[in-house]
């Protein structure tokens, strides 16, 4: 099963290599990995998407926890979380297909960010599934180029009042 794991890590050089190295060295499946700063400049947040059976996921979390530079490991799977991915998609579209693509973009609340002689570029954010859906409607053969950011996630705020969680 696919899990989304959020890490708070020391913002040191080499932290990402340690995390990636753990996955390659132990042959775990890593589907995406994103990283960015938090409000504390010494701490970064890493979101990683990985897959495996329960035992493997348990090992992944334990191994991540063992890394000296990893401050916190949160498995967002099963928690209420907000997951977003950004995709930039350049779609093959001459004047005859433009309207159709723009209509599809509209439905997915994607933004048209560039129009070329025979292409349209879209920017779309949302869950991984939403982006996958958009792509399947456009048809992968029509996609000239694409860049996906990988998932970023945070836990949802509690609906009842309690102390807020860190960075």
């Amino acid at each position: 099963m696919t899990h989304v794991i959020s890490l708070l890590v020391e913002n040191h050089q080499g932290v990402l290599v340690r995390i990636a190295g753990l996955f390659s060295g132990r042959a775990y499946n890593l589907e995406s990995l994103t990283v960015g700063v938090t409000t504390d400049p010494a701490v970064s947040r890493v979101t990683l998407v990985c897959s495996g059976d329960d035992a493997v996921i348990e090992q992944i979390k334990k191994q991540l926890n063992k890394l000296v530079d990893v401050i916190k490991v949160i498995d967002l799977t099963g928690l209420k979380s907000i997951n977003r991915e950004l995709a930039l998609v350049k779609v093959q579209a001459g004047p005859e297909r433009r309207a159709e693509i723009i209509q599809v973009a509209d439905v997915f609340r994607a933004r048209v960010i560039d129009v070329g002689a025979d292409s349209i570029s879209l920017e779309v954010t949302g869950s991984t599934e939403k982006i996958d859906d958009l792509l399947s409607i456009i048809g992968t053969s029509a996609v000239q180029e694409m860049a996906r950011s990988g998932l970023v996630s945070i836990e949802r705020g509690r609906k009842t009042k309690k102390t807020a969680k860190g960075a």
């Binding site: 080499g14 340690r18 890394l67 530079d69």
Partner: protein
């Protein structure tokens, strides 16, 4: 105080109580060696290879519990440490390894003797640091010592660029440092411990299964009390040997591939395993599907990732072995298991571990048994292969930290340099490397180190003329096709040969002459009655190493043996009747 980086390093080592460094110099670390030159508090042992420096620091650490320290130069110096670090990492040995690095502004330029030391050592250390700011040097060293020595210990590399080594700064060594990502759990959850005690009290066929964690955490006294109080039989991994006396009536010995009949039968029939400080690794468990099929498993280990990785665990306890066992002691009750104890004792009597009969040359089991009789309180280091298994099976260990062996990585060439580290830490103890004729050649250059330091390490070569452990597999599973395992081979030999014997040309090197070439003592033993006199003669030598070349049966085997991937109960008993 104003200091350069090298001086800061030495101050730090002194503050950490370091008395000895194993090292090898080179361009970028000359300033560190220079600072050590006039430092009476720290002894520098020059090994003849960086791998040996790490193994020596490792032997020092395993036999004392203190953190071993080594110091090498950049590039080849650093790459040569890799096997040593991986060996220590696998067996959880605390080491701080300082590597020189090219100056910061040259990193990435393919500078002379540059290597990506951090990249190379990342997966084979507990942690590593490249120091990029002189102001972070002191805190980094402090962190390295904390990480190496605490939790599940392991090696830590500190990579020091030349400009950090010579850079001056006014600073002091910190008493503490903050690491928010590093908080090993030491104290076991008391609720879990109580549950474990209850299960244990109710079991009908329980076993303790102990590993290297017992040695590392100093848990042997607590463990022995628990065994005394509960009367539960004990099996151990290779690394757990010494947790309890080898000849203790409740000790069934080592389990696994070359485990004893009693241990492998007991683990197959038991209804409860209480594992402490062990990884349940594959050499011990054999085929997982048939490992302890009737058992509920309690597992205490300091490393959460070691728990429930290979076997399903009913009661996990994360914590330091000594603390967990001390907490367990008041709650532990003796289960009523007389029939079980009788049964396992019966297995022990039926199939004791006895040496193979001699086929003309010495029987290795007999040699090790004599070593055990003549030197009952030695610290034994081993190489890897049959020699290691014979050392594990036939020496009578009474204390923890007395079997120094590369378990996880199985590094040939480990034993002798490790023995050097052990002897430096324990000058008054008899230190013996039980060696194979193949392995010993992997770090034989350390004879010079032992001579230089006046170390009376005894190297007992169990000389079978083969890479014996591999040959044993070839004999049993590859139709005796001794491919690439004969160490007596010469151009005159037939292409293929499965019949070693008196027609073979002389073994090289001649270990007796080799010892003499190193201004040391060499003794050859070919007959059983010569074993004890040779050992006694070796004991007389106090200021240099001794090699005893025991000429053993070429095709002696290690029994019992569980074929790779097999179930523990399906062991081959070979010559052991």
């Amino acid at each position: 105080m104003m200091r350069n980086g090298a001086e800061m390093l030495i101050e730090a080592l002194k503050r950490e109580g370091v008395e000895v460094i194993f090292g090898f110099p080179g361009g970028v670390v000359i300033p560190v060696f220079d600072a050590l030159y006039s430092e009476p508090a720290i002894k520098v042992v020059l090994t003849r290879h960086e791998q040996a420096a790490v193994h020596a620091a490792d032997g020092y650490a395993r036999s004392t519990g203190k953190t071993g320290v080594c110091l090498v130069t950049s590039g080849p110096g650093a790459t040569n440490t890799a096997t040593g670090l991986a060996t220590a990492n696998f067996d959880s040995v605390p080491i701080v390894c300082i590597t020189g690095q090219v100056p910061l502004n040259m990193i990435g330029n393919d500078a002379f003797q540059e290597a990506d030391t951090i990249g190379i050592t990342r997966p084979i250390t507990k942690h590593n640091y490249l120091v990029t700011e002189r102001s972070e040097l002191a805190a980094t060293i402090k962190k390295a010592f904390i990480i190496a020595g605490s939790g599940r210990p392991g090696p830590v590399v500190i990579d020091l660029p030349k400009d950090i080594i010579v850079g001056k700064l006014d600073e002091e060594y910190p008493d503490e440092v903050k690491m928010r990502g590093y908080n090993p759990v030491l104290k076991g959850h008391i609720g879990q411990i109580k549950k474990a005690a209850e299960l244990l009290a109710k079991a009908k066929r329980p076993l303790f299964y102990v590993g290297g964690g017992i040695q590392i955490s100093g848990a042997a006294p607590a463990f022995r009390k628990v065994v005394k109080k509960t009367g539960v039989p004990v099996i151990s991994s290779l690394m757990g040997i010494g947790a309890i006396e080898s000849d203790h009536p409740l000790n069934l010995g080592m389990l696994g591939m070359h485990g004893t009949y009693a241990a492998n039968m007991a683990v197959t029939e038991c209804d409860l395993i209480f594992g402490v400080g062990t990884r349940f690794d594959d050499r011990a468990t054999g085929k997982l599907e048939s490992f302890a099929p009737h058992a509920t498993i309690i597992h205490a280990d300091i490393d959460p990732s070691a728990i429930a990785r290979n076997v399903p665990v009913e009661i996990p306890i994360v914590g330091d072995a000594a603390l967990v066992l001390e907490d367990l002691l008041p709650f532990a009750k003796p289960p009523s298991i007389d029939p079980w104890v009788k049964l396992v004792s019966g297995w022990k009597e039926e199939h004791p571990v006895v040496p193979e009969k001699s086929r003309g040359r010495l029987s290795p089991g007999v040699v090790v048994k004599k070593i055990s009789e003549v030197f009952p309180e030695a610290i034994i280091a081993t190489e890897v292969g049959q020699n290691q298994m014979w050392a594990a099976l036939f020496y009578n260990y009474t204390q923890p930290r007395t079997l120094i062996t590369s378990g996880g990585l199985g590094t040939m060439g480990y034993g002798f340099p490790a023995a050097i580290g052990v002897k430096i830490a324990h000058p008054d103890k008899t230190v013996i490397d039980i060696a194979g004729d193949g392995s010993i050649q992997m770090n034989i250059q350390e004879m010079a180190t032992a001579v230089q330091e006046g170390l009376a390490v005894i190297i007992a070569v169990l000389n079978n003329g083969y890479l014996g452990m591999v040959r044993q597999w070839q004999e049993l599973f590859y139709g005796k096709r001794y491919s690439g395992t004969c160490l007596k081979r010469r151009p005159e030999c037939p292409e293929q040969c499965s019949n070693p014997g008196d027609q073979c040309l002389a073994y090289v090197p001649d270990f007796v002459k080799l010892a003499e070439a190193y201004d040391s003592v060499g003794i050859r033993v070919t007959k059983e009655e010569e074993i004890v006199p040779a050992l006694k003669r070796a004991a007389e030598v106090k200021d240099r190493p001794v090699i005893i070349d025991f000429i053993i049966d070429e095709e002696a085997n290690v029994w019992p043996m569980v074929p790779a991937g097999g179930a523990n109960k399906d062991m081959l008993l070979g010559g052991v009747k």
